[in-house]
């Protein structure tokens, strides 16, 4: 049984409930505005002692079967729920697992996931380039140094990109019901 695991990209908790904090019963406090998946991180690699495996080290040895849909070995707990995009090799480069693949077979470096995503999601990519897609960050003025945009995988889990539904925060108090506290 293979105990190696090369890929265990961190899947941060996708629950948004964590970002709400109740305090003193009188208000909701929204504390965490960072994207769900946090800042862009390199892939977390498997370590055995002081030896670290990269993706390619396994995949040089083990051949990938084209069109295979089930997950094996290190990838069994990976949830692939990307709509009609259900083939690993649609995104991952067959020869170089440290890179993504473009439609013409060229490699896309792993720190530029937007080049990969934009191949199918071009409209969203155009919006994102301008600053219309995704969470607003920093400054409203693109020229200002505070302005920054987030890369796709900083918010979306690429294997399960659709966000779960949110629990709504409480609505306004129904008027006309004055509590004792309000009058005195």
């Amino acid at each position: 049984m293979c105990t190696l695991s090369c890929l265990f990209c961190l899947f941060a908790s996708t629950t948004f409930a964590a970002d709400i904090e109740r305090s003193a019963g009188l208000a909701m406090k929204v504390v965490d505005y960072t994207p769900v998946r946090g800042r862009f991180r390199p892939l977390k690699l498997r370590r055995e002692g002081f030896f670290q495996y990269t993706c390619n080290e396994c995949h040089r040895v083990f051949d990938t079967i084209e069109g295979r849909k089930s997950r094996v070995a290190e990838h069994v707990d990976l949830k692939l729920n990307h709509g009609s995009n259900d083939n690993c090799l649609n995104c991952h480069h067959k020869m170089n697992r440290d890179a993504y693949v473009a439609h013409d077979g060229k490699e896309i470096p792993s720190d530029k996931p937007e080049e990969l995503c934009s191949q199918c999601h071009n409209m969203i990519y155009r919006d994102w380039k301008v600053g219309i897609h995704g969470r607003a960050r920093g400054s409203w003025n693109r020229a200002e140094e505070g302005w920054h945009s987030l890369v796709c995988t900083e918010c979306h889990d690429p294997h399960d990109p659709k966000f779960p539904e949110l629990v709504p925060m409480p609505g306004p108090a129904i008027p006309g019901r004055k509590t004792e506290k309000e009058i005195h």
Binding site: P175, G176, K178, E182, I183, H184
Partner: protein, 423 residues
């Protein structure tokens, strides 16, 4: 009598006109506290109620407007409702002025002063209602031009301040001048009061039109944003004002024996009848406009007349108002209200018309203007006990002011209270 009445102030110390005026004031104060037991009972009763109102207002002053039933959804309530109704009543004094001065009806001259005093008392009530409605009444000085910042002529509320203060000043001047001249036994100088009288005729229409424009100018409130609101205001004002004056003058006649001829009552009755006819006609026009085309804009009207989304609070009120006004009109048109000397039916019609118009113009205008809110929600408005006490207290203060002014004015006009010859 060289030392004057109080025995303290020597006559030669002041110029004559000032001395006479000072004496007049001192005597007026003394006269205010003279009266029959019934007079004392009435004034004490009103004072007690006013003090209850004052106490309720002090509560509100300390806690804030949270003591009222108003919310962000319905941010104006009975205070502004009463204010709107009373501005109309004040304007109705002009219905006495027109026959007296334009048609030179001698008999009306006697009671025009009472009508104008009525307007003064009602104006005091209006000012009080606006003051108690303010969130920061101490900041009223912000309205004064130059030292404050008066947003005239853009803000309709600033127009309202100007016309109401002006009307109060006009009426106070005309009444004060004519009464003082009568007290002195001198003929009043035509140029010191006639221009103001004629100005007050036009001004009376303007105060109520400007108050109407407060509401009409708000495009975001479709219930109010209609041209017919201003004519409806005038029509209902000239119904309710003379109606209340009919009742008030009968009380004056009964309690002081001051002669008010039947002709005056006939004239007032005619004014009330015609105004009520016009008012109901305009009401009918409004109802047609709201309901014939079944558009979404009539949501507020549907809330008022039939209830909306489970909220029916105002429905019984408005239908009672309509019923009362129609019955009042029928009584006025019938021969019952015309019996000379016996005014039972007439009084009933007047009271019903006044109450109906109070409902129609007060809760029936202000609250549906707010509901449904511009975002579509309905939040019922119910005035609190504190709020109601403040309103009742202000009405008591108005009645107190009117009674007090009559306590001075009737003896003056009947010649009983006048400057003695040896002064």
């Amino acid at each position: 009598m060289e030392k004057g009445e109080s025995g303290i102030i020597p006559k030669e110390a002041f110029p004559e006109f000032l001395y006479k005026y000072g004496l007049f004031l001192i005597r007026a104060v003394r006269l205010s506290f003279r009266g029959h037991v019934a007079f004392y009972a009435w004034m004490i009763f009103l004072s007690v109620i006013s003090l209850f109102g004052l106490r309720a207002y002090c509560n509100q002053f300390v806690e804030g407007l949270i003591t009222t039933g108003m919310t962000d959804q319905v941010s104006w309530g009975v205070y502004i409702a009463n204010f709107t109704f009373l501005v109309g009543m004040a304007a109705a004094a002009v219905m006495l002025v027109i026959p007296a001065y334009i048609y030179k009806d001698e008999e009306m001259h006697n009671i025009v002063i009472f009508g104008e005093l009525f307007a003064v008392a009602v104006m005091i009530m209006c000012m009080l209602f606006v003051t108690v409605d303010l969130g920061r009444p101490g900041r009223f000085w912000h309205l004064i031009p130059v030292i404050g910042h008066f947003n005239f002529p853009i803000s309709m509320l600033s127009w309202d301040v100007v016309v109401l203060m002006g009307y109060l000043a006009l009426n106070a001047h005309v009444c004060g001048y004519l009464l003082y001249m009568k007290y002195l036994g001198q003929k009043p100088n035509k140029w010191l009061y006639m221009p103001f009288v004629f100005l007050s005729i036009v001004w009376a229409i303007s105060i109520h039109t400007v108050t109407a424009f407060l509401y009409v100018g708000l495009a975001g409130r479709p219930f109010w944003n209609a041209a017919i609101v201003a004519p409806r205001f005038i029509g209902s004002a000239f119904t309710a004002g003379p109606a209340l004056m009919i009742v008030a003058f009968q009380i004056i006649r009964g309690t002081t024996g001051y002669h008010i001829g039947d002709r005056a009552f006939r004239l007032l009755r005619q004014i009330v009848t015609i105004s009520l006819l016009i008012s109901l006609f305009l009401f009918g026009c409004e109802i047609f406009k709201e309901f014939y085309s079944q558009s979404l804009h009539s949501a507020s009207a549907r809330y008022l007349f039939f209830g909306l989304h489970g909220h029916y609070a105002l429905v019984p009120w408005i239908w009672s108002a309509i019923a009362m006004e129609i019955i009042a009109l029928l009584i006025l048109l019938s021969r019952f209200s015309r019996k000379p000397g016996s005014y039972g039916w007439l009084n009933l019609a007047c009271i019903m018309a006044t109450v109906g118009i109070w409902i129609e113009k007060g809760p029936g205008l202000i609250i549906p203007g707010f509901l449904p809110t511009p975002l579509g929600e309905i939040v019922d408005y119910v005035p609190t006990y504190n709020e109601t006490m403040v309103c009742v207290g202000i009405w008591a203060i108005g009645a107190l002011a009117f009674s007090w002014m009559l306590r001075l004015a009737i003896p003056i006009t009947s010649g009983v209270f006048h400057c003695t010859e040896d002064e």
